[in-house]
Symmetry: C2
Subunit: 213 residues, 2 copies
């Protein structure tokens, strides 16, 4: 195909990474159904994107298809995996064993997520020591130890809003470099730590607004 002037290593955006995870999900589904090849516009439709965007995203991870058959489903799945994943399954920790924390644990135990929860933490002594869904719940004083032992990069915060910043600070101090925050509060940004907020309250209010106009 046409000329390739400069490799152009732009910084990749969270949106683009998000799309890659969605492509992969669609690819797994196609693979399960025995489909061998897929075109950019089919992948695009499955995640509500444009075909040009799919081609651009795949170009970025340097996966190529052919004008004849489009993309090989299994090969593309592997390409995305090589780009996104750690060589091994990545262990994460969760802080907060309330209703939400336990619900998230259940999602993991059903195997829908490509990561595994190595340990849970809670400040409530009533909750520590027990095992939920095969996951032991520790006290916050054991955080450093566990994060170190399991080489944890990612922490999930499922604590109340007023406890979120402290919990986040503890995780970052222990060495965690990425956070998923379910508490309805914005965490102080820390250089080198990637934070993603899942804010149910805000999202619902947003949806309610657009449902009305």
């Amino acid at each position: 195909m046409p000329n390739t002037p400069v490799p152009s290593k732009h910084k990749i955006s969270p949106k683009q990474i998000g799309r890659l995870t969605l492509y992969r999900r669609a690819l797994r589904d196609l693979d399960r159904r025995g489909v061998m090849h897929v075109h950019s516009h089919e992948l695009a439709r499955s995640i509500n994107a444009s075909s040009a965007q799919v081609r651009r995203d795949l170009m970025y991870i340097e996966h190529t298809g052919t004008p004849a058959h489009g993309y090989d489903v299994q090969m593309l799945n592997n390409s995305i995996g090589r780009f996104l994943d750690m060589p091994q399954v990545e262990p994460v920790v969760i802080v907060g064993m309330g209703n939400l924390g336990r619900a998230i644990l259940t999602l993991f135990s059903t195997g829908q997520v490509g990561l595994t929860i190595a340990a849970a933490f809670d400040s409530d002594p009533q909750k520590t020591g027990r095992v939920h869904n095969g996951c032991r719940c520790y006290g916050m004083d054991q955080l450093n130890q566990v994060v170190d032992d399991h080489k944890i990069n990612v922490g999930i915060l499922a604590v109340p809003a007023d406890a979120a910043q402290d919990a986040a600070d503890s995780l970052v101090r222990a060495g965690v470099r990425g956070l998923v925050n379910f508490a309805p509060t914005r965490l102080r940004p820390v250089p080198g730590v990637y934070i993603e907020d899942i804010d149910l309250t805000s999202t619902l209010e947003k949806v309610a607004f657009f449902a009305r106009i």
Copy 2:
């Protein structure tokens, strides 16, 4: 202040609405602490935005401050409320009473969310008929009736991925105009229906990626 040439009614973006919900949260906190006035840069810092953006957002909802005191906390809170909220508390429904659905119900029952869950639905007859956190669980066959009776605009999907599209279709057919989808699948877009995906799997994979680079 300077001239005002055209009112310029751009279409408002989801991001902007999202920020308004966050400003409001910060304002409530300031009000609780007895703070009367706030400057754009303080509001900005509390939600990790820029002060110019705050001023722009507030300009958009036609709330004005003064160079002397910035913005009046209570008045701004009211302005945002007038812009975002229905006159009454808005009732929503939730479909899926698994672990996640029940966890979400609990969040509402603790009063953190400015909306109220009018009813829950599940296709499993084991779950219907019961009351969880003060919320009755109906069978899917009662969806139309309940949505009609309570004039429901918004539905929350907390069902497995393979049931999400059907549940969404049912909600839309019943008259719902906004959806919050927790299932790890992208729903087919429907004109006039606003859909927001809360995709834990995708988010976690994204965070894991950025935690590593």
